[in-house]
């Protein structure tokens, strides 16, 4: 399947901002299930950006705006060829040892409720695929998918307590339980196309990858209860939503701002 992606992030400020700096993790890599046909990032100063590959295999660009400005538009777009690999990602280059992904972060810290949930999965390491599917089911049983109850800073514990959340929250709860069990698992951000045709989606999608002996890393989408297939495009990964964020920035100036993210996914009909 071919998926054409347009991912725009727009900041606008009410008062001019003197200085801003952003890290972009907006460069997908080839995996077993996806091949990047073409890809480009447009942003102020992108041609002069500092760039490197971070500890989780993501290509990062550092852009800055020095001098008064009223906003910022970052546009990533391209064409990706996907195939269904039953979620199997295998081993990607530039990844740290798996154990690193057992590290607990502020967003994936367990509380009593997560601890209790994790306890039910103890001793089931022998069949990890079944374990992770059961884990997804358990989360979907407790969580209702809807927006408005959580935001980018909501922790796994808070989301579980609320019983509502978006893909990010489902993923964080999954990670918090895995890490409680000492199982390495990582946060993945990317795109999910509904079906053939064109669609504008509200934002990126997020899911997780966990290690399965013999298969390498395998994707699980707790929000939808399935393993990613050809409808998924993997963009970046990390320990949680913060470290895997496609755009992360900081600015000088206190005025209010507006952030608009627009993701358009198109599946070109074959001629």
């Amino acid at each position: 399947m071919q998926i054409r992606i347009e991912h725009a992030t727009a900041y606008s400020y009410d008062e001019p901002v003197r200085y801003a700096v952003q890290e972009l993790r907006l460069t997908p890599v080839d995996t077993r299930g996806q091949k990047i046909v073409d890809w480009r990032i447009e942003a102020p100063g992108i041609e002069r950006a500092g760039t490197w590959i971070d500890g989780f295999g993501n290509r990062v660009h550092l852009i800055s705006q020095n001098g008064d400005h009223g906003g910022l538009l970052i546009r990533a777009s391209g064409l990706v060829e996907t195939a269904n690999c039953d979620g199997i990602v295998g081993h990607l280059p530039n990844m740290p040892p798996a154990g690193v992904f057992a590290r607990v972060t502020a967003l994936t810290e367990a509380d009593r409720a997560i601890e209790a949930l994790a306890a039910g999965f103890r001793g089931r390491h022998r069949d990890p695929i079944a374990l992770y599917h059961a884990l997804m089911a358990a989360i979907r049983e407790r969580m209702k998918f809807d927006t408005g109850h959580t935001d980018a800073t909501t922790t796994a514990a808070a989301a579980l307590k609320a019983g509502h959340g978006v893909c990010q929250d489902f993923a964080h709860i999954f990670l918090a339980i895995c890490r409680r069990l000492g199982l390495p698992a990582r946060y993945v951000t990317g795109y999910l196309v509904a079906d053939e045709g064109e669609a504008e989606v509200e934002a990126n999608h997020a899911w997780v990858e966990a290690e399965v002996a013999g298969l390498g890393w395998v994707g699980f989408d707790p929000a939808n209860g399935i393993c990613p297939d050809e409808h998924y495009v993997r963009l970046a990964c990390g320990l949680d939503a913060t470290t895997a964020a496609p755009v992360r920035g900081i600015r000088r100036g206190a005025g209010p701002d507006r952030l608009e993210v627009r993701v358009t996914l198109k599946v070109p009909t074959e001629q």
Partner: protein
């Protein structure tokens, strides 16, 4: 008269048989020639020198304006050339191994794969910095500036108490103490051949130059990054910048543009290649670390990862001087160098082990308990001088969070003659030599001797009433 406690503590001037140890002979003669009034006058002169130079030290928790002098003792601490050579070899081995360990931990983690260090101890440790994973700093050096705390317990036994691999301070005292001594007692220098310490800033500058990013052409621009005048070590930051002839910057003076670091000058922005930062990791860059930090430079860490600037010491070096990792340093040295450690660790009890914990709880009055993440002598129990109440409190804490504490026997720190109220008396000392790692390893012959001025005290930290002494390494 100078009287020691030979059966309990090793004294560096007077041997157990009452004879004066060779390195101290001239000092002993000199002390005999001085009246108490002479010494008091010299001490007063010393204080005048330090106050005028503005060498002060802000004590945490007290008023900002409350800067005070760290007490200085006018009697030097002396090590022979042979003693120093031994230490030097051990230190060099240790810093090589620790740098290799840091590289490994942030790359393939061979030492974990080999089962020498538990994985959890590293990856779950708060001092581990995942942002550093996969980064290759210039020349592969992570910790460039190191202050290793050593204690001596007998003629031939030195122990490493702590490896300070983050932003160790105190080197300005090493240099200024010497400067003061040269002014105060020139006649003593005429009787000894003392290795100079004044080349430290020059060595530091060369070290920093040598780790400029590979893409930097020409003479690299180096800056010292300070949290500002209210930091307790501000004097040192300013002193080092001045001695090296480089700018002393605060976070606001620097900014990142096009992936490079620049400083704001009265003219055009100037590119910066090496940042010797004296700001803790957490506050270094609000984009990557604590977002509420106003001390750091947004994007600095990103510019570092992009290979456009060198941060000295690298972020994340704290994993190698973490108190829980400390107990593995002997294995770390063997793993990376294939040699036996030349300097010993202090034997350390692991409270997570039930048997050892039981022993610890039974013997608290003989032991020293340290919080794994504490520093500066805070959060510490010194058994022999503790009260029953303090011991009960620490026993409770150890039981609640055994991983959070390491426990060591109370070391019989060596004593040195020290001028106090009552005259010349033995006081306990430690030693922090300073090591520089860049294109080569440079160890300044000397270091900071900290002295516990209170009679009987074993705590030498300046925040807890400790003072300093000039440290003389004799040349052959």
């Amino acid at each position: 008269m100078y009287s020691t406690v030979p059966d309990r503590y090793f004294d560096e001037m007077v041997a157990p048989d009452g004879s004066v140890r060779p390195a101290y002979r001239q000092i002993a003669d000199w002390l005999r020639s001085q009246t108490r009034k002479d010494l008091r006058q010299t001490a007063a002169n010393a204080e005048g020198i330090f106050r005028r130079l503005g060498i002060t030290f802000a004590v945490y928790g007290s008023d900002q304006s409350n800067e005070r002098l760290i007490p200085f003792d006018i009697i030097p601490r002396i090590l022979s050339a042979a003693e120093w050579r031994r230490l030097e070899r051990g230190i060099e081995q240790r810093v090589r191994a620790l740098n290799a360990f840091l590289h490994d931990i942030y790359h393939r983690q061979e030492i974990i794969r080999a089962g020498r260090v538990p994985e959890k101890l590293i990856v779950l440790n708060s001092a581990f910095c995942p942002e550093m994973l996969g980064h290759d700093p210039a020349r592969g050096v992570y910790t460039h500036i190191i202050g290793i705390d050593l204690v001596r317990v007998s003629e031939n036994e030195f122990y490493v108490l702590e490896d300070n691999l983050r932003t160790p301070s105190g080197v300005s005292y090493m240099i200024e103490d010497r400067e003061a001594m040269l002014r105060l007692v020139p006649e003593l220098f005429a009787r000894y051949r003392v290795a100079p310490v004044e080349s430290y800033p020059e060595h530091l500058r060369r070290t920093l130059q040598s780790v400029a990013p590979p893409g930097c052409k020409g003479d690299p621009t180096i800056v010292v990054l300070t949290p500002g005048i209210y930091n307790s070590a501000f004097f040192e930051h300013s002193f080092l910048a001045d001695e090296m002839g480089i700018e002393l910057c605060q976070g606001d003076d620097l900014f990142v543009d096009d992936g490079f670091v620049y400083m704001r000058t009265t003219q055009k922005p100037k590119r910066v290649d090496v940042v010797y930062r004296r700001i803790d990791d957490d506050f270094l860059d609000p984009l990557t670390f604590r977002r509420d930090s106003t001390l750091g430079v947004p994007g600095l860490f990103s510019a570092y990862r992009a290979g456009n600037v060198t941060i000295v010491n690298a972020p994340g070096t704290g994993i190698a001087d973490d108190k829980a990792v400390y107990t593995y340093v002997p294995q770390i040295i063997e793993f990376y160098t294939g040699e036996k450690p030349l300097l010993s660790n202090v034997p350390t009890y692991n409270c997570a082990n039930e048997e050892e914990r039981a022993y610890v709880l039974d013997h608290l009055e003989e032991l020293v308990v340290k919080e794994v993440h504490g520093s500066g002598g805070y959060g510490m129990l010194v058994g022999p001088t503790s009260t029953k109440k303090e011991r009960t409190e620490f026993a409770r804490r150890i039981k609640a969070r055994p991983h959070n504490y390491i426990v060591q026997p109370t070391l019989a720190l060596s004593t040195c003659p020290t001028f106090v109220e009552s005259g010349i008396a033995p006081r306990h000392v430690d030693l922090r030599p300073f090591v520089l790692v860049g294109d080569q390893i440079r160890i300044t012959p000397g270091g900071l001797t900290r002295v516990a001025l209170k009679n009987g005290s074993l705590v030498v930290n300046s925040s807890q009433g400790g003072g300093t002494k000039d440290t003389w390494i004799l040349e052959d």
